[in-house]
C-alpha cells in the first residue's frame, strides 16, 4: 500500500481525533480524503510535526495523533529523545515509513536501507514502539488509541503519492478552526 491508501483506510479512525499532519503531499492527501477542523495541516517547516504534536499533547488532555514521515523524522531526529523523556499518554506518533522523500520526487531515504526508526526510537528510550505492515495500520492505531498510552508506530509501506490538489486554505484559518476544535 502507498500512504494515500493507508490514509483512506484509517480516515474513520482519525476523524474523531486531533491530528497533526506532516508537510507536503501527506497533508494534501489527508485534506483531500477527509478534511476536518480537527486536522492541523503543516504547509511548511519540514520535520516539526512530531514536535508540534508533542507540545499539543502536553498542553491539553485530548488524544493527539501525529502523521509523520521517515524523511521528516530523519530531519528532526532530536525529537525522539524529547518524546521519550516527556511522556504524554495522549500522544501517538505514527511514522509512515515508505523509505523515500515523497513530496520531492521519491528520492530514497536511509530508512529504506540500513536505518531502523523503530530501533532508533527504542534506543532513545521510547516505550510502546510498534513496527507494523501497511495492511495492519488501522488495527494497530485503534489499539494504541484505546490503550491510552504513548505510542510510536512505524508503518512500513510502499513509496508513492496520490495526485491531490495543493491546500489553498489560509494558515491562520487552519490554525483558528483547529484551536476551536481543541477547545470544543
Amino acid at each position: 500500500m502507498i500512504r494515500s491508501e493507508i490514509l483512506k483506510e484509517i480516515a474513520p479512525i482519525l476523524r474523531d481525533q486531533l491530528v497533526v499532519c506532516n508537510i507536503g503531499i501527506p497533508s494534501q492527501e489527508l485534506h483531500a480524503i477527509d478534511d476536518q477542523p480537527t486536522n492541523f495541516y503543516m504547509l511548511g517547516t519540514m520535520g516539526l510535526a512530531s514536535s508540534i504534536g508533542l507540545g499539543l499533547a502536553l498542553a491539553q488532555p485530548k488524544t493527539v495523533i501525529v502523521i509523520d514521515g521517515d524523511g521528516s523524522i530523519l530531519t528532526n531526529m532530536g525529537t525522539l529523545p524529547t518524546i521519550a523523556n516527556n511522556v504524554a499518554d495522549n500522544y501517538i506518533l505514527m511514522i509512515i515509513d515508505n523509505g523515500s522523500y515523497g513530496s520531492t520526487g521519491d528520492q530514497p531515504t536511509y530508512t529504506g536501507k540500513k536505518t531502523s526508526l523503530a530501533k532508533v526510537a527504542e534506543a532513545c528510550g521510547c516505550e510502546n514502539v510498534i513496527e507494523c505492515k501497511d495492511v495492519d495500520t488501522g488495527e494497530v492505531l485503534q489499539k494504541a488509541i484505546d490503550s491510552k498510552k504513548m505510542h510510536i508506530i512505524v508503518v512500513k509501506c510502499d513509496s508513492g503519492n496520490a495526485k491531490m490538489p495543493v491546500i489553498t486554505m489560509d494558515p491562520v484559518v487552519i490554525k483558528h478552526r483547529f484551536m476551536e476544535a481543541v477547545k470544543a
Binding site: 517547516t45 507540545g55 532530536g78 525529537t79 516527556n86 483547529f178 484551536m179
Partner: protein, 168 residues
C-alpha cells in the same frame, strides 16, 4: 536584584506555563529557576527549531509558551520562524543570550553576534536588547506586547546584563 527570579516572576505573572530551553552558560541561572517553578512546565529541546515546534503545539493546546536559547542558533530557526510561527501568526517570546557582545571572551561568538540584529531585522521580528540589569523592567511589557500582536519577539540579553561571563 536577582535577575533570574525577576524574569521567572514576570513569566508566571503573564501566565507563561510552557517553556522550552536550549542551554547557554549565561542562561544557566534562569534555566535553573524555570525548572524550580511549579507553575511552569519546562521541556528541554535538543535544537531550537524543535523547541519552536513544541511551543507552536503548546500554544494551540491553550498554553502560553516561551523559548530560551542562544543567538548562535538563530540561523537554524529562520525557516521555522517564517513558515510556522509567522505564517500561522503565533506568539513566541524568545529570551536569547546575546553571545559575542561586550564582555564576551570567546572570539568565535562574535561571528554570529555581528549578524544577529540584521537577521532579526530582516525577519521583521520586534527586537529588544537588554544591556543593563535595569533593562529587565521592560520584560513584563515585552511579554504583554508579544501576546497582543501574535508574533515572535526577540529579547537579546548580553553578558553585561547577566553580570559578566564567569571570571572574564
Amino acid at each position: 536584584m536577582d535577575i533570574d527570579k525577576r524574569i521567572c516572576d514576570d513569566l508566571v505573572a503573564n501566565d507563561i506555563s510552557f517553556v522550552t530551553t536550549v542551554p547557554c552558560k549565561q542562561l544557566a541561572g534562569v534555566i535553573d529557576e524555570v525548572e524550580k517553578r511549579p507553575e511552569i512546565f519546562h521541556i528541554p529541546s535538543n535544537k531550537e527549531d524543535e523547541g519552536m515546534g513544541l511551543c507552536a503545539g503548546a500554544w494551540m493546546g491553550g498554553k502560553r509558551p516561551m523559548i530560551i536559547m542562544q543567538n548562535t542558533a538563530l540561523g537554524v530557526t529562520l525557516n521555522t520562524l517564517a513558515t510556522l510561527t509567522q505564517f500561522y501568526r503565533m506568539p513566541l517570546p524568545m529570551l536569547i543570550s546575546y553571545r559575542g557582545e561586550l564582555r564576551e571572551p570567546v572570539a568565535c561568538q562574535v561571528e554570529m553576534a555581528v549578524h544577529t540584529k540584521a537577521l532579526l531585522a530582516q525577519m521583521h521580528i520586534p527586537t529588544y536588547h537588554f544591556h543593563w540589569q535595569k533593562d529587565v523592567e521592560e520584560f513584563d511589557n515585552i511579554l504583554k506586547y508579544t501576546f497582543m500582536c501574535n508574533k515572535p519577539v526577540a529579547i537579546l540579553t548580553d553578558a553585561n546584563f547577566w553580570g559578566g561571563y564567569g571570571d572574564q
